[in-house]
């Protein structure tokens, strides 16, 4: 049995198709995932992301504990700000990618992918053992509702008293919505301006209803996980399990910038990551690929070079709803990773030409 979200009844009433995602029954789509995708690019989409894991660390050594447990320098994040970071194993392999919110000088909230939430919570407990800090897994009680898209600020502004002008990207602020205390964050996974609302699960249906009403005049559509995947792919954002796995370090994924060697003390994976940073070896790196026509490279398909030799593997791919042509991410050797390089993908026996491009595929208009 999949765990239902606190919003399950709301989704059923909206006629959602459900999918099992990491043990949760979550909305895949409500109607057309292309319409939902387009709504996020041109108006806004309303997402239930309650499957995500939330782990709080509270105590005088919360910052030190996270500096040790994660690859980022979380002590440098100011209260009210957030940071994209990763948790690695001793060999530098990525256990999960995370958004960490610093809620106060002595309090952080770590947001983990649903599939890794238990692993991350366990690792944080273990790694925090020597520090004066409490680790609390709040995944079961907290709901997460996201409003993403160019009209999201108008919608959130209408229902919260929060000063959105001063709420920067990757910042958060306590606020009130429908009379309930929420954490309002300007974060997301779609490539658009957007907000995430963390709220007690018991109040989630009311928050959803109020957002839906406020969104009516702003083109807000409920949006499922199907379009979330194509949105993040267009935005060149990695998905754990596809672009990120324990077999790759942050450097392989082109995200070495999240590893902060300049922080005080040791951290889990430091030695291995230093070797990887300094390594003069042929490694594979994550690139973007674009094709023509309508057939999309998909997860697991082979990337081949001009001689027909397999050189890499597609991690994610789709016919881009916004751009109208196939896009994909793939791990390929450094030697063929320069933008403009001509490669091919074996699409079920047919070799389709693709070109290496710089990520992201899509950037929202400034």
């Amino acid at each position: 049995m999949s765990t239902p979200s606190p919003l399950h009844a709301v989704h059923e009433a909206l006629g959602a198709s459900f999918t099992d995602f990491a043990g949760w029954a979550m909305p895949l789509r409500y109607g057309s995932e292309l319409a939902e995708h387009k709504a996020v690019r041109t108006a806004s989409g309303l997402f239930d992301l309650s499957h995500m894991g939330e782990i709080e660390l509270t105590g005088p050594q919360a910052a030190e504990a996270l500096n040790f447990a994660l690859v980022g320098k979380l002590s440098a994040v100011k209260p009210g700000k957030a940071r994209y970071t990763m948790i690695c194993d001793e060999s530098g392999g990525v256990l999960d990618d995370l958004v960490v919110y610093r809620l106060a000088a002595d309090k952080y909230m770590v947001v983990a992918n649903a599939s890794n939430a238990a692993t991350v919570a366990a690792a944080l407990r273990e790694r925090a053992a020597g520090f004066d800090v409490e680790v609390a897994d709040r995944s079961a009680e907290l709901a997460l509702i996201a409003v993403q898209g160019p009209t999201s600020a108008a919608i959130i502004g209408a229902v919260t008293g929060a000063d959105l002008e001063s709420l920067a990207y990757y910042a958060s602020v306590p606020a009130t919505l429908a009379g309930h205390e929420i954490l309002l964050a300007r974060t997301g996974y779609t490539g658009e301006d957007g907000f995430e609302v963390y709220v007690d699960g018991a109040h989630a249906p009311e928050v959803w209803r109020v957002l839906t009403e406020a969104g009516q005049e702003h083109g807000l559509l409920p949006a499922g996980l199907a379009c979330r995947d194509t949105l993040r792919l267009e935005a060149g954002m990695p998905l754990y399990g596809n672009e990120l796995t324990a077999d790759f370090t942050p450097f392989d994924a082109g995200l070495g910038r999240v590893v902060k060697f300049d922080k005080p003390g040791d951290f889990v994976g430091r030695a291995a990551l230093e070797r990887r940073r300094d390594a003069d070896v042929e490694t594979k790196v994550l690139v973007g690929l674009v094709g023509s026509g309508k057939r999309a490279p998909r997860h697991g398909y082979s990337v081949v070079d001009g001689t027909g030799t397999e050189v890499g593997t597609v991690t994610s791919g789709a016919l881009s709803p916004t751009l109208g042509h196939p896009i994909a991410m793939a791990y390929v050797p450094v030697a063929v990773s320069e933008p403009g390089t001509a490669l091919s993908v074996d699409i079920r026996g047919t070799v389709a030409p693709v070109e290496v491009v710089k990520l992201p595929f899509y950037q929202r208009p400034a």
């Binding site: 995932e33 995708h37 999309a296």
Partner: protein, 125 residues
């Protein structure tokens, strides 16, 4: 939407409208809903010989790709050009304008009736 009574069905979630040796083929509403928005269909060419149970085309949604299977031996006589240009017809009208191809067949394909097919999709949930 219920499955039309006048059509036959396959376990691969295709429908077949057989009339005087010519069969029209499409995918069911159940299949279209499971696929999500269809963005590309690759149909067999007119004149192509198709073999019962063998893949003869592809149907691709934003999330996945599925083979089309020939419901019987035969020769393709017509393909739906409208659905090639507008694959969303598979979602909006799977039993009508979203038909895929027609083929001439001598055989008598073994098909499920609407009730048996409804039972099958209920089992697959």
């Amino acid at each position: 939407m219920s499955n039309p009574e006048n059509l036959g069905y396959t376990a691969e979630h295709e429908w077949v409208d057989l009339a005087e040796g010519t069969a029209t083929v499409g995918v069911t509403k159940y299949a279209a809903d499971a696929l999500g928005d269809v963005v590309y269909v690759q149909l067999p060419e007119v004149g192509a010989k198709i073999t019962a149970g063998e893949p003869c085309g592809e149907i691709e949604s934003t999330k996945s790709v599925s083979d089309l299977y020939a419901p019987a031996d035969g020769e393709v006589v017509e393909i739906n050009e409208a659905v090639v240009d507008s694959p969303e017809l598979v979602n909006t009208d799977p039993f009508g304008d979203g038909w895929l191809f027609r083929f001439r067949t001598d055989g008598e394909p073994e098909l499920l009736d609407a009730a048996a097919y409804a039972e099958l999709t209920k089992e697959e949930g």
